[in-house]
Assembly symmetry: C2
Homo-oligomer: 484 residues x 2
């Protein structure tokens, strides 16, 4: 056919080229022009439509580039086979109806989940100031847009290194530091540094399941090592090489054990005894210790280079900032560069420099001291209230961190306690949820994790009362005793 039904409208905002393009595409996708059919020459169509030749050329060129037409030298334009082509001209209505995705569930009235932080005491003004300064400094130095160092901005690593030395006795140079978007990301890097899937990871049980799942996802065999009152039992760790021992000596999650020096030395001895054995020290909760001075890190007391130190700003600044840091032993720095050095940093440069200012200008230290005071009073109150209760059998993990583990003297299961508490608007988690798959919780009594970080004094008092009601006979009927 040499006649196209194209009705150009000079008064719409749409260019003639675009109109011609759309008409022909519509004819093709609508089937009025079929595969192999020859189109009128650009010259002919131009004269038919009384538009310039170049206008038609542009429309044809676009149709060719999108694969609707094929140009055969000297013979003209032909319709292509567009079998599976979806017609964009008929926009599918977008339905954003997945309300479930909008929130991670509404906030419970009493959120006793662990790892919740206080959002009243945060140094909002200082943070805003540092964010503004970081942005302006990066602008004026023309460094805002350009990709930064793959291990993280040097200034930030310098600040973190000296903070870790002063606060945790960690000995490192900035070159040993890798800044990354969360502990799990850094653990993945660690996993990639060694022969894929060849290694074992010894973990305490119960433990921090995010780390457990991460190792599983990246193909490492996870060995659940039992723990006693001092933490991971060193002589239960596999005697194989290329093995990591993942521990949280400052305040084990979720039990809250503080690992004494003796056990730390046993761990170091285990690492020393093999070719490629490393201790991953997740210094969880080290910032918030409420009794005595914090115990120096394993990395700090070790004279071997077998400790990989892991820390995060999630609790010390905010969970939403997503900045963690990993201290590699000197001999692993090159291994990292060789195996993972091609990865660009996972943390935005602006955020890195904001934190850097926050630390260097002393706000971080002041913030930590302030929050330690706030959390201590919440911790002390919860501890005091629980100690009054005859239904409290034992309390684990006091004097540090943002939660307590409470063993209850009652006939209920953890699930039953959680369920009943839920009816009062209280969200509380049982210890069983922290055990790796296939490794059942020991002990018959329910152990509940009571996170206090985000709660007010009143909410803490209410929470303990709610627990008491839950444990009483007929807790199911007790709904609404506390006005919602």
């Amino acid at each position: 056919m040499n006649e196209l039904l194209i009705d150009l409208d000079l008064h719409t905002g749409i260019s003639l080229y675009e109109q011609i393009y759309r008409y022909i595409r519509k004819d093709i996708t609508g089937g009025r022009l079929s595969c192999g059919e020859r189109l009128p020459s650009a010259r002919l169509l131009a004269s038919q439509l009384q538009v310039s030749r170049s206008t038609v050329d542009a429309a044809y060129a676009q149709l060719v580039s999108e694969g609707y037409l094929q140009a055969k030298r000297g013979s003209g334009y032909y319709v292509c086979d567009i079998g599976a082509l979806y017609d964009l001209a008929q926009p599918q209505v977008q339905q954003f109806s997945d309300s479930l995705q909008k929130t991670r569930g509404t906030q419970p009235k009493y959120n006793f989940l662990p790892g919740q932080v206080d959002d009243q005491g945060f140094a909002y003004n200082a943070w805003r100031k540092c964010a503004k300064e970081a942005l302006l400094a990066l602008e004026t130095s023309h460094q805002l847009l350009q990709a930064g160092h793959p291990q993280g901005e040097y200034e930030l690593r310098e600040a973190v290194a000296s903070y870790l030395y002063q606060a945790r006795g960690v000995r490192c140079q900035p070159r040993q530091l890798v800044i990354g978007a969360g502990n799990e990301y850094l653990l993945q890097m660690l996993g990639q540094m060694f022969a894929k899937g060849a290694g074992k990871v010894a973990m305490e049980s119960p433990t921090y399941l995010q780390a457990y799942h991460t190792f599983q996802n990246i193909g490492y065999e996870v060995v659940a090592v039992p723990m006693d009152d001092y933490g991971m039992v060193a002589d239960k760790i596999p005697d194989t090489d290329l093995t990591f021992a993942y521990v949280m000596p400052s305040h084990q999650f979720p039990i809250g054990t503080v690992m004494p020096l003796k056990r730390r030395l046993e761990l170091l001895a285990w690492a020393k005894a093999g070719e490629q054995r490393y201790i991953i020290e997740d210094d969880h909760d080290s910032e918030f210790r409420y009794k005595g001075r914090p115990i120096p890190s394993l990395q700090g007391i070790s004279q071997l280079d077998r400790v990989i130190y892991l820390g995060t700003f999630s609790n010390s600044i905010m969970p939403s900032i997503r900045i963690s840091y990993m201290v590699l032993p000197p001999q692993l720095v090159d291994v990292y560069a060789r195996t993972c050095g091609f990865y660009a940093s996972t943390v935005s440069k602006i955020q890195q420099m904001t934190v850097c200012h926050f630390i260097k200008q002393g706000y971080f230290e002041r913030h930590l001291n302030k929050m330690r005071g706030i959390y201590k009073s919440k911790h002390d109150l919860l501890l005091y209230l629980l100690k009054q209760k005859e239904w409290v059998y034992r309390i684990y993990g006091g004097h540090a961190g943002l939660h307590l583990a409470v063993e209850l003297d009652c006939g209920l299961t953890e699930e039953e306690v959680s369920k009943r508490a839920e009816k009062y608007g209280m969200c509380v988690q049982g210890l069983a949820e922290c055990y790796p798959a296939g490794d059942g919780k020991r002990g018959v009594r329910p152990v509940m994790l009571l996170g206090f970080g985000r709660l007010s004094e009143k909410e803490i008092r209410d929470g303990v009362e709610i627990l008491e009601r839950c444990l009483q006979e007929g807790g199911d009927q007790a709904v609404g005793l506390i006005p919602q």
Copy 2:
């Protein structure tokens, strides 16, 4: 021994408890108190030092908690074995002497590397405005600190979904979107969603090596599939299942091929023919097309659910922001939630909301149009200059993206060209560097990648002249012809 030589000083700022603690620790680490030795009872020491009993108790308790002392019920305090204990009392001087880490090498005078962005045209004011608004909004809503949605803030996913639909014809709901800290991170998530290491990845050769190395690191077998002028040759892709085909149809890196519809349909047919075959569409450079309208994405024209769409804000906003997005087919959303849903988001909430404001308030669109103009004029100039040169054999990848691939008609190797250019302060990369290991570059002539994104008009002109000098006889003597 029952006598400790402790000389308390009431006039220092240090508390008595701290002083006693330090004296005893020093005696232990200094060897004056040896393992197993018994210390004076707290009562006795208190009276000797004339301090309160509780002061000594506190010091002893700290020494116990740090593992220097061991308390034996009813018998007193004994010195522990602290063999491998490092004495923190003698702080090791921190040397931050690794200047190499401070920068990624100084900026070359003429940076022709690909993937460099223009930092003059950026919408600094709009960005600052959005950053400020995001920060304040999060503060007032008390959402700043709290962890966000693991797949990314819903508002941002909504904004990205509608941008992708309008600009790229991508059809998705926010629930299909995963926001992550860079393409490589999202590829790692993808790798973890399927049986670890079981899968194959078909990649073009040459290709984007970061992606290649990522797949290698996470244990996938990478198959280099040859490409012709239309991109990856579909019938060269392995016929196995659980295979990804990683392609860049909009503008293949580094060659710059724009994949025509015919080839796209062949790829979709390949995916359809197997149980678990997916096309990973890295929509690289799709924002910057200088001729005609952009070609709709593979994801948009496909009627199958076998396309995983990948995009980034690195070129469209800034490389330093580290935000990418992945569109999963509906049936993979649950797989993601099941296998990777436990990972917290890798992007700071503040940054996410800043970008969200940037898009929703129309700044992003205006920025893209402005930058497209800026890059087009740089692109056109470089293309024009090169077309004058008889030593240019062929130019690849024009009309899109931030670089050109230029095949040179000369007897030099790519390394020789790079080396010579370096002497003029020009940094330029050869195509050979983009081939997977063991898969040698085809063709005898050197092909250089000329990135123009960050360069001024003058720098582009100088660069072409420098290349010419490099190709001339005795390029080695030509040093300094252009004043540095």
